[in-house]
Amino acid sequence: MSIEQTIVEIDIPWLALAGGVLIGLATTLFLLANGRIAGISGIVGGIVGGLLHFSWRDLDWRLAFVFGLIVSTLVWQQFFSLPDVQIQASDMMLVIAGVLVGFGTRLGSGCTSGHGVCGMARLSPRSIVATLMFMSTGFAVVYLLRHVIV
């Protein structure tokens, strides 16, 4: 077999890569301008904690960031169409999933953006471990739900 034949042809999902670059740029802006990690669970968790403990100090920039996330589809739609999104989970699954994600991200100090992007980008051992853990658990749960409990 020639070298040309053994080279695997990788189909690059260009939109996924471009989207990732945008996420990276957002992270870059937030880090270099605000000096903060663009970890969504941390930003939102800080709002919850802040409100609970009546501490308003950090609330403004957190709310500004979250507001940006929330209106992003609105702004996007002024220029482009939204992709078709299918949320297949039942209401009960969404509630269970939500509580797990909310509690878990706070306990573990991060999520896909905090640990997966920011942590990995700076080669944090904590984040690498966290990412490996939530990825493998994600794989396992989907396997269970789709291929075992049928």
């Binding site: 939109l15 996924a16 471009a18 989207g19 990732g20 670059v21 945008l22 996420i23 990276g24 740029l25 957002a26 870059t28 802006l29 937030f30 880090l31 301008a33 605000n34 000096g35 990690i37 939102v44 609970l52 957190r62 500004a64 960031f65 507001f67 940006g68 996330l69 929330i70 992003s72 589809t73 702004v75 996007w76 992709p83 999104v85 949320i87 989970a89 209401d91 699954m93 969404l94 269970i96 939500g98 509580v99 994600v101 909310g102 878990g104 991200t105 306990l107 573990g108 999520c111 997966g116 990995m120 700076r122 944090s124 904590r126 471990v129 939530f134 994600g138 749960v141 989907v142 396997y143």
Partner: protein, 147 residues
């Protein structure tokens, strides 16, 4: 004046982050779950999203490390802990379990909640409840330890 710039950059960061999630398809749980479905019709997109995001962010951290303040003169708040403890492992486990259940993590859920999607809003409310539960449990543990 400085304060409004800080809020503006936070807003733009959230907005562009949202754009990235939309463009990459990460707001679609079906695509995320397809990535997590290693035994099924595997969709590797998420790897490319993360790859692109990490590569660009790595440059930012390289620059940030050499600075004592951000470009707006704020302190650079990057976590310094290197401890891998039970909380990190358990929390990541629970998060992964939730992620694999609905295919939503915090960012995409908030973006989709912004479209008025009832399912996304339900997830967000449950997520906030989970976060509240954590805060209360933490507070209870602290009080218990003190007495």
């Amino acid at each position: 004046m400085r304060k409004s710039i800080v809020l503006f950059t936070a807003l733009i960061s959230g907005l562009v982050f949202g754009f990235g999630l939309i463009l990459s398809g990460m707001v679609n749980p079906a695509i995320v779950l397809a990535f997590l479905d290693i035994a099924g019709q595997w969709n590797p997109s998420l790897l490319w999203v993360m790859g692109g995001a990490v590569a660009v962010s790595a440059v930012a951290f390289f620059i940030a490390r050499r600075r004592s303040t951000s470009f707006l003169g704020l302190p650079v708040n990057v976590p310094t802990s290197r401890v891998i403890d039970k909380r990190l492992l358990a929390g990541s486990f629970l998060f992964g379990a939730g992620w694999g259940t609905a295919g939503f993590c915090p960012g995409p859920a908030l973006v989709m909640a912004g479209t008025g999607s009832e399912k996304a809003i339900l997830f967000v409310i449950a997520m906030l409840a989970g976060m509240l539960l954590f805060e209360i449990a933490g507070h209870a543990r602290k009080s218990g330890a003190a007495s």
